[in-house]
Homo-oligomer: 132 residues x 4
Amino acid sequence: MFELDVRSRKPIYEQLVDKLKELIISEVLKQDEQLPSVRSLAQQITVNPNTIQKAYRELENQGYIYSVKGRGSFVSPTSPKQNTEKIMKMKNELLKILSEALYLGISADEIIQLIKEAETTVRGGNENDSLT
Amino acid sequence: MFELDVRSRKPIYEQLVDKLKELIISEVLKQDEQLPSVRSLAQQITVNPNTIQKAYRELENQGYIYSVKGRGSFVSPTSPKQNTEKIMKMKNELLKILSEALYLGISADEIIQLIKEAETTVRGGNENDSLT
Amino acid sequence: MFELDVRSRKPIYEQLVDKLKELIISEVLKQDEQLPSVRSLAQQITVNPNTIQKAYRELENQGYIYSVKGRGSFVSPTSPKQNTEKIMKMKNELLKILSEALYLGISADEIIQLIKEAETTVRGGNENDSLT
Amino acid sequence: MFELDVRSRKPIYEQLVDKLKELIISEVLKQDEQLPSVRSLAQQITVNPNTIQKAYRELENQGYIYSVKGRGSFVSPTSPKQNTEKIMKMKNELLKILSEALYLGISADEIIQLIKEAETTVRGGNENDSLT
DNA sequence: GTGGTCTAGACCACA
DNA sequence: GTGGTCTAGACCACT
C-alpha cells in the first residue's frame, strides 16, 4: 500500500505526507476515519516511528488530520479551500515545466496529447465514481 | 533583477538555476551571450562566489550554458538535433506532472490555458511582437 | 586504499571519482552497498569533506551512486533497462577515442588485447574465478 | 585550417599543441620547416598572441619544435620515441573507458565493430599514403 | 550520526 | 580579468 522510495532524494516523511494526502483527497481515507497508529504503521512499512510521527504532525499542521490524545489520529472534515494553495503551487510548477518543454521544441499539440494520456491514467482508477 | 529568498527552503543555488533557466528559455539571454562573471554576480546579489559557481556548474551539466576558463560563461546554442533523448525524458516528466495536476482537480482546459501562457513567454519576445 | 596525488594536475575530486568508479565497475563495491560517509572518508584520506561531497555529487550525476539525506550514500543498482541512451552516448565516445588511438598508431589487435584486459577487471572478480 | 573549439573545456593552447603535433607527426609540417610566426598565427585564427606563445613554448619543451631568436620557430627532426609517452597515456585511458563500456553491457564484439568503423574513418583520409 | 548548503578566503590555470 | 579547486568551519534537515 505504501510504496516508499528510500533512494529518492525526497525525505521519507515527506513521501509519507504526500501519500497520505493523496489518500485523503481521493477519499480512500474518509472524513473522521482513524489513521493507523504511529507504531503499527511504523512496523508495517518498517520505518522509524519518529518518521511517522513527523509526517502526522506535518499533516496536522496542514489541517488534513487531527489528533486526539489517547485515541489516535483522524481525517479532518475536508475543506475544499485547503487545496487552493497547493493548486497555485502546482500551476506555477506547470508553467515552468511547460515553458521548458516548449523551449525544447515539444509542440502544444504534443503536450495536449500527453494530457489525454494522463487523463486515462488518472480517471482509469475511479471511473465509476459517479455511479455510486 | 535577481530576487532571492534566503529564507526559502529551496537552496540559493537552485533558485539561481531556475531564474537563469527562465532567462535563457525566454531568450532574454541569447545564444552565446556572456553571463555575468561568477565574481561580479556574487557581488551584485551579495552571495558567496562559490554559490554562483555551483549554480553555473549545474546549468552546465543540464546543457544550458558552457564555461571557458579565463573567458567566462556563455549561453549554449540550442542544438535542435541530438535532443531526442532529452525530449523523451521531458515527455516522461510531463506525463508525471500532468497526472498530478489532473489528480489535484486542475482541468485539461486550465492546463491548455497555461500552455498558452508559457508560449507567450517562450516565443513572445521575438516573433509576433510587431503585430500588437 | 585511496592513493591520491595532490600534486597532479587532475583535481582531487576527479581522482576520487575515477577511483570510486573503478571500485564500482569491478564490483568491489556491490549494488546498494554503503559508501564511506563523507566525513569519515574525508578524515581517512585527510581531505576536506567538501571535496568528498563534490566527488560523490559527481558520481550521483553520472548515475553510479545515490545519496539519501540522513542515511548515507549507496551504490546504484545497475538498471539494464533505461540505459539505451547511456549506451548510445558511450558508443559515440568510444568511436571518438578509438579513432584517436588508431590515429596514434595503436593497432586494432592491441586494442582487442586491451578489451580482454578490461574484461578480466569487470568480470574477473566473480565468475570464472573458481577455475584457476 | 586550425579549427578551435572555444566551447571546449580543453584550453585553447592545448588544442593548438595537439593540432600542431598532429601536423608534425603526419608530416604536413616537415622537418626544419618554419612555423607561422606567433603574431601572424594569432591574427589568422583570432586568438591572443600570448596563447600562441604558450603553445609554442610547450611544443619546444616537448621537443617537437625549436626556436631561433630573431628568426622564428621550426619543426624538430622527428624522433619517433617521443610518442611512446603519449601512447602509454592513451592505452591507460582506453583501458578505463573500455571497462566502463563493458560495465554498461556493451559486448566485446560490438566494440570490435566500432574499431572497424573508426578504422575506415581514420584510414579514409590518407589512404593513398603508401603510394607517394 | 548522515548528507547538503553556505561563507570567507586562498591559490591555480588560462586569456 | 576569467573559471576552477580546495580548505576550514558553520549551520540545517533528516534518521
